[in-house]
Symmetry: C2
């Protein structure tokens, strides 16, 4: 790790506590809330060089660097965040936080409800992308940030859009990768299947499984398997696994794992349950389903007419979960609202996962976008 | 029903019993086997006017007509089978049978094992598309058929291909709709998720649930939900459901059914468990995964070089489960083997399900193909 001069090095997850109650979109007031976050780089004196990185479905506050000298696995967007990287920590103050409802330090269904001394479980309120942005706003204000660039892939892109629409005076630029203004019916359907698998797991116990000997692992694993199929494209799967059998050259003629692709899915499901909470999966997929950038404004165009940000929209050719057409819808609405928008469809065989894999092209595009954005604002960093 | 002069009318499911043991592809010998089947129309004196209809994943022997005067729901391909229809019962002797491993009359995992007096459950042998064709061959021979036209959609198309390759002297024509020579890795992955949901259902009980008070309904329902997403295309889902909420205009803010698309999936899952067996779902999806038309011959071209049939291959523009490219692979290999093949990609918004919905275009194409086929054979029917 130390050999990598472009790493942010060893970082620490910090915690910020919001003591008062926050009004959620559902109408419920909720609090206190602890927010897990990390920062890389330094805030400038004008307090306007912040980049807020927004994670996807199962991400966390640990976007870059390592947690210890021994730590072998860097943060989820480490290739994109560091000195000289796309999100250049020599120039920017980069912030990443775990979303409300998550299970990696920020208050979520697995957190202890101070009123009962027990985990919230399903008594945790249903939250939205708007709610998590509200919480993030408290965090960045606490950090002294006056202006920021909001950036994220997939669900992170939804949060970036929400930031630009709801807090136009704080957001100077908005980077939306492999994302959409709203999920399709098919996207909702895939999430619904995942939630069904969790809700019907015999150990789900109406969400009160934290203190039980068994957890709804199988349901969560199935949800993850369905998800993984949608993150890869058929071409990538074909290249990666084809129709090869696992371990030998012929079928098992039983219901154990037969094909390599089954082994891959099983592995993805199994490892996921070790790092993610089934209740959080319910809450976060629901927030994704509910998100609609047009929302209360009636149309994307009207929503975007509120914004003051410069936009960068990126999509990937092989992403069939959040396909290019959905990015183009955003671009079209932004253009109609007279906003400054750059759009790039990146050629990639990696499917939706490309935003976590295709670093070179993303880096070039983001660097060039950010350089222009700095030029526009004419502020030395 | 009686008003429909193009209906085959009231039909009866019959049963044919194979007493001796059959050698399966796995090497296991298995028997006895009962085959549920229906026939419509009459076999001619040359015994060469048969059409064998091959059902898809969850189909059965009841392809056309009604089972009683009160019966409101006709067979699964009723719009295609009858006097003057695509499969014209005035001209052809149409046969449909439930596949081996199924749960609609043909011996499958829910059948009683005569050796134990109990349902087979998972002691039923894993079967292949080849095995079920072997069983069908016994049936058509029993019916006196010398030559036949094999026709089916989806998994039915796989069986039609298997018929043409393995029994070249019996198959004069082969109609393959919305199908493929082999499933993609993504197709296997979707099936694997469905099987996982069944296998991990708390009431699955290692397949021995038939005599228990509870059945693995939730697992089977989830498998069906995943399947249904792949049967529709995103455009069709969008048109059908969009992002509309169920019953009211705003979100529930809970984990009950929220969006119309969730309600649709839940309904599909719930009604499916009433008519299908979870073990059969395991066996049949496995047979689909294993199918590879190139199989033992090393290449599609070599496999097809054995055939004597005239082929009609049809695909649908919006089918992303068995997309047009897969049909084109078949066409290419058939052409290279010097075989007579007609191909048509039908414009349809109905996704994979189109073969069960788009009757007009299919009828025109099939009628024209069959008329030519009859011409070629120069046999009055």
């Amino acid at each position: 790790m130390e050999k990598d001069t472009r790493s942010v090095g060893i970082v620490e997850t910090k915690f910020f506590k919001i003591y008062e109650q926050i009004e959620l979109e559902s109408g419920i007031t909720f609090g206190p809330i602890t927010v897990a976050y990390e920062t890389y780089g330094k805030l400038n004196s004008a307090k306007d060089n912040a980049i807020l990185l927004l994670h996807a479905l199962t991400g966390d506050a640990h976007a870059a660097g390592y947690h210890s000298e021994e730590d072998k696995k860097p943060g989820w967007w480490d290739d994109m965040v560091g000195p000289g990287k796309a999100f250049d920590t020599n120039k920017y103050f980069v912030i990443a936080s775990n979303m409300l409802g998550g299970c990696s330090g920020t208050t979520g269904p697995c957190s202890i409800n101070p009123d009962t001394g027990k985990p919230y479980g399903l008594s945790f309120p249903v939250i939205t992308i708007g709610d998590t942005v509200k919480v993030q706003k408290r965090l960045v204000e606490h950090l002294g940030v006056k202006k920021l660039i909001a950036a994220g892939g997939s669900m992170g892109g939804m949060q970036a859009l929400e930031w630009a629409i709801e807090h136009p005076d704080m957001v100077s630029a908005c980077i939306v990768i492999a994302s959409t203004g709203r999920l399709t019916a098919q996207g909702i359907a895939f999430n619904a299947v995942g939630r069904n698998a969790i809700l019907s797991d015999p150990y789900f116990n109406n969400g009160n499984y934290y203190l039980e000997p068994k957890q709804p692992e199988q349901g969560l694993a199935i949800a993850r398997m369905v998800g993984h199929i949608t993150y890869l494209c058929e071409d990538a799967m074909h290249k990666k696994f084809g129709r090869r059998f696992q371990e030998k050259d012929k079928p098992n003629f039983d219901f154990n794992i037969d094909f390599e692709v089954e082994s891959y899915l099983e592995h993805q499901g199994r490892t996921f349950v070790g790092r993610f909470d089934a209740n959080s999966y319910l809450y976060i997929t629901k927030a994704v389903d509910y998100f609609d950038a047009a929302g209360k404004y009636g149309s994307l165009e009207k929503a975007f007419s509120r914004t003051n940000a410069k936009f960068l929209i990126m999509s990937f050719t092989s992403d069939w979960l959040f396909p290019t057409e959905q990015s183009k819808e955003l671009v079209k609405a932004l253009t109609k609202s007279g906003k400054d928008v750059s759009f790039c469809e990146i050629e990639s065989p990696c499917g939706h996962d490309a935003f976590l894999l295709e670093f070179d092209t993303q880096t070039k595009i983001i660097k060039s976008f950010l350089a222009k954005e700095r030029g526009l604002h004419e502020q030395p960093l």
